[in-house]
């Protein structure tokens, strides 16, 4: 295992070293210590490696990740796993705003709570949150799945496209064009699979409700002019 201490190593050197790895590398186990809320930790990685971060990180940890499995043993600041393409990012603590923003693939697991705008503009990523999520989550969410084991805040799924939202607890309010939808067998399967991958064994898909787009704002119509603002 290679250990990088961010109290003595520059962020630049860490990310450069990670970028120099490629598929087939032997250096597959990385540990990052003393992140102390640093921004842009382990961003742009493109290798099937295992990165464990011991402590809390700042903005955009694991941004644009490909292939890597990144575990944050602490909390994550805004935009964790933003635009992730593949791989897996696990946050043991809480995540701040914009978790998984615009993500295209891979799995983001937040074991604590996620703040506002979780999954904003998500484009195919899967996000599983064990706790609650804040307001404006899944705003303009285009594709992928957002699973929330706790409660959702205000305006869930505002202006949502084709992403699927699964919430176990309460939803404070739904955003424009977001409605509760029927849980069909294919949804149960997707959800069951995500719970399994996130290591959640005490819940089953039947505990959840599904939300998604009413598709009424997909085309401009005089009858929905109020929603365009």
């Amino acid at each position: 295992m290679r250990t990088v201490d961010l109290s003595t190593t520059e962020l630049r050197n860490l990310n450069q070293a990670l970028h120099e790895l490629s598929e087939g590398t032997n250096e597959t186990e990385w540990q990052i210590t003393n992140p102390r809320g640093s921004h842009a930790v382990a961003v742009g990685v493109n290798a099937p490696i295992d990165v464990t971060i011991r402590g809390s990180v700042g903005y955009y940890c694991g941004g644009m990740n490909r292939l890597a499995k990144i575990t944050v043993n602490g909390s994550a600041g805004p935009g964790v796993a933003e635009n992730m393409m593949s791989g897996e990012i696990i946050v043991k603590g809480d995540a701040s705003q914009y978790a998984g923003a615009t993500g295209k693939g891979g799995l983001l697991v937040i074991e604590g709570n996620a703040s506002s705008r979780c999954g904003i503009s998500m484009k195919g990523i899967d996000i599983v949150v064990r706790g609650n999520i804040g307001h404006m989550s899944a705003f303009m969410a285009q594709a992928g799945n957002l699973v929330v084991c706790g409660d959702a805040g205000d305006a869930l799924g505002d202006s949502i496209y084709e992403a699927k939202l699964f919430v176990r607890g309460s939803v404070k309010s739904l955003g424009a064009d977001c409605i509760e939808k029927e849980m069909r067998p294919e949804h149960t399967e997707v959800l069951g699979n995500l719970l399994h991958r996130a290591g959640i064994t005490n819940l089953t898909p039947k505990d959840f409700k599904r939300y998604g787009s009413a598709r009424k704002l997909y085309n401009f119509s005089i009858d929905h002019a109020d929603a365009y603002g």
Partner: protein, 297 residues
């Protein structure tokens, strides 16, 4: 656009460390606001004494202020200077006269804050340098608020730095950008309030002071501001005995709160909090939009 830190001590034994803790927190927020910095520290009340924080571009002038003022007022006053700032201590019963004298005869000194407990220090410069110049790390107190500023539209000057104080023992810092502050400033001016800067934050501070002068509590004033202030903001406010936080209804500007049995801490980012005692076991959360948080004693 900025970084904010705040600390409210619950456990008295931490009061001697307030400055040290706050200065560590402020240092982490330098890159959010490298233009200028400032902080308010609330100390213990000093028996009938009002403290006036003065600022001068020519600190040498503080030397003769004590003698001159004592002579004019016919009462002894104390002046302790720190770099470009000085704390003037006067008895409560002559405070109004003192303010008039300062305004009429010593216009070269700017009044940064007034109150039984508050002291405010703020200057242009890199935040750690500013904190160092005023010796923040050695200050003690019950609560304090710090700010690092990246100016958006108003000038980078010492009086344009935060915190802004527009009422006795009150102060406010802000991260964000208000969008209706010009009209609000005109209304408040019409009501007789005066302004030192073109800064949107000063308008927010004056608005809250105006509400409190009308008898509202800080909490009620903050609630009311949700309807009257437009734009993006995270506010942290200090009063004689308390500390409050408010985010606008959209709530994009970052904010993290942490609470333990010993203190409540605010940071624009988690980074600001990592050096605090027992932070690992603190309750850490992000304040909800349009929700007033307040701690008092």
């Amino acid at each position: 656009m900025c970084g904010i830190v705040g600390l409210f001590i619950k456990d008295e034994s931490l009061e001697p460390n307030l400055g040290e803790m706050l200065s560590g927190m402020l240092g982490t927020m330098c890159d959010r606001g490298p233009d200028s910095a400032g902080f308010a520290v609330y100390g213990s009340p000093e028996n009938g004494v009002v403290k006036v924080t003065l600022q001068s571009a020519d600190p040498a002038q503080f030397n003769s202020l004590q003698t001159k003022l004592s002579k004019i007022l016919g009462r002894s006053v104390a002046v302790t200077s720190k770099d470009t700032h000085a704390i003037l201590r006067v008895d409560h019963d002559i405070f109004d006269t003192t303010r008039e004298v300062l305004r009429d005869q010593f216009p070269q000194f700017r009044v940064m804050a007034v109150g039984e407990r508050i002291e405010i220090y703020k200057e242009v410069g890199y935040p750690t340098d500013v904190a160092g110049r005023f010796g923040l790390a050695n200050m003690r107190g019950t609560h304090g608020i710090g700010h690092t500023r990246m100016a958006t539209e108003s000038a980078v000057t010492s009086i344009g730095a935060h915190p802004f104080s527009t009422g006795s023992d009150q102060c406010l810092v802000h991260n964000g950008s208000l969008s209706n502050h010009n009209n609000l400033r005109r209304e408040l001016k019409h009501e007789g309030r005066t302004f030192e800067t073109e800064n949107d934050t000063e308008v927010a501070a004056a608005y809250l002071s105006a509400q409190m002068d009308k008898g509202l509590s800080l909490g009620a004033s903050l609630e009311k501001s949700l309807g009257d202030l437009d734009g993006f903001y995270t506010f942290v406010v200090g009063t004689r005995d308390g500390f409050g936080v408010l985010r606008d209804p959209v709530a994009c500007k970052p904010a993290v709160l942490a609470e333990t049995d010993r203190y409540v801490a605010f940071g624009s980012e988690y980074r600001a909090l990592v050096g605090l005692p027992d932070i690992e076991s603190a309750r850490v959360w992000e304040p909800e939009p349009a929700t007033v948080y307040f701690w008092g004693r």
